[in-house]
Symmetry: C2
Subunit: 154 residues, 2 copies
DNA sequence: TTGTTAGTTAGCAAGACTTGCAAATTAGAA
DNA sequence: TTCTAATTTGCAAGTCTTGCTAACTAACAA
């Protein structure tokens, strides 16, 4: 996504207000590669701006996604994640700690056979496995693993 | 997944009961390539067995998935889908009618660069676009499209 | 056929994640 | 400072799924 400064400019041009809430979120999202959920961002934002509403976080994230400033990532664990990296890339999800990492793939997969006639607009690839850290941890002490990075109560 | 008869055998071996509800669901799932959600199956099952509980459908689907008889497919539209096709394949989601189709890809994508050190256990590829039918319909009468095959209220 | 019992089902409540709504605020322009 | 449309909030509500538990029943033995 664009930098907070550039976003400010874009918002002004669209007659959208530059509220403190939005500015805070722009900053928290910029170059954030942790793939946070709305709730994650809300927690962090709350520390810097107690009282900010979760509803506002959802609202702002939704706007940014609609404007093409954020990519929505769904790894099937319940909550949607937001990724400011709009370049072409895919995702790796660690089964141990839950972390999500951007990855590049050697070549975009193509449909083979009957389905080849489909009109494809988008291809999403999600890898599941163990990240370097968890993989190493498992080797050192099987059974143990890095603490889950993303809280999941479900 | 296995055929209803084979599943019956497997369940017996595991001391699991062969209830009418389970038998019905086995049948409805067998060779079902429509990628139904729990709710979808519940509706169909209800016609043949009025009174069956949605809870039971979830329960049974969960058991089958755990036994490796069903694959869970999440295309990010809210509800999980169940796919009895356990062979290696990926999915195509039609943006117009919502239908999901199994597809094969020419080669499994590989992670490139730094992420190459990850321990990958599973690769999921989801294509989004227009299925043959909707693609043709759009060309015939732009603006129109096939009726959504999967109800989504969200 | 009957009794026994562990496995199941059904219903409802509740939890997680999101979104709709309406009232209260406020950024930005005049 | 005033005005107004855009925003933020808080809460209710909706969707999908799971936990809990009382009632039920498939499967097996006598």
């Amino acid at each position: 996504m664009h930098s907070p400064t550039e976003l400010a400019q874009i918002f002004r041009e669209k007659q959208l207000k530059l509220t403190p809430q939005r500015q805070l979120l722009f900053g928290l999202l910029h170059e954030n590669n942790a793939h946070p959920s709305a709730e994650n961002l809300f927690e962090v934002a709350s520390k810097q701006m107690p009282g900010i509403s979760l509803r506002t976080v959802y609202q702002t994230l939704g706007e940014l996604a609609e404007m093409g400033e954020l990519q929505l990532v769904d790894v099937g664990d319940g909550a949607k994640r937001f990724d400011p990296n709009m370049g072409e890339h895919h995702h790796f999800v660690c089964e141990s700690c839950g972390s999500i990492h951007d990855v590049e793939i050697s070549s975009t997969p193509k449909i083979r056979g009957e389905g080849a006639g489909y009109e494809v607009n988008e291809v999403g690839v999600v890898f599941h496995g163990k990240c370097t850290r968890c993989s190493a941890a498992t080797k050192r002490s099987p059974g143990h693993q890095a603490k889950k990075q993303v809280a999941r109560t479900k």
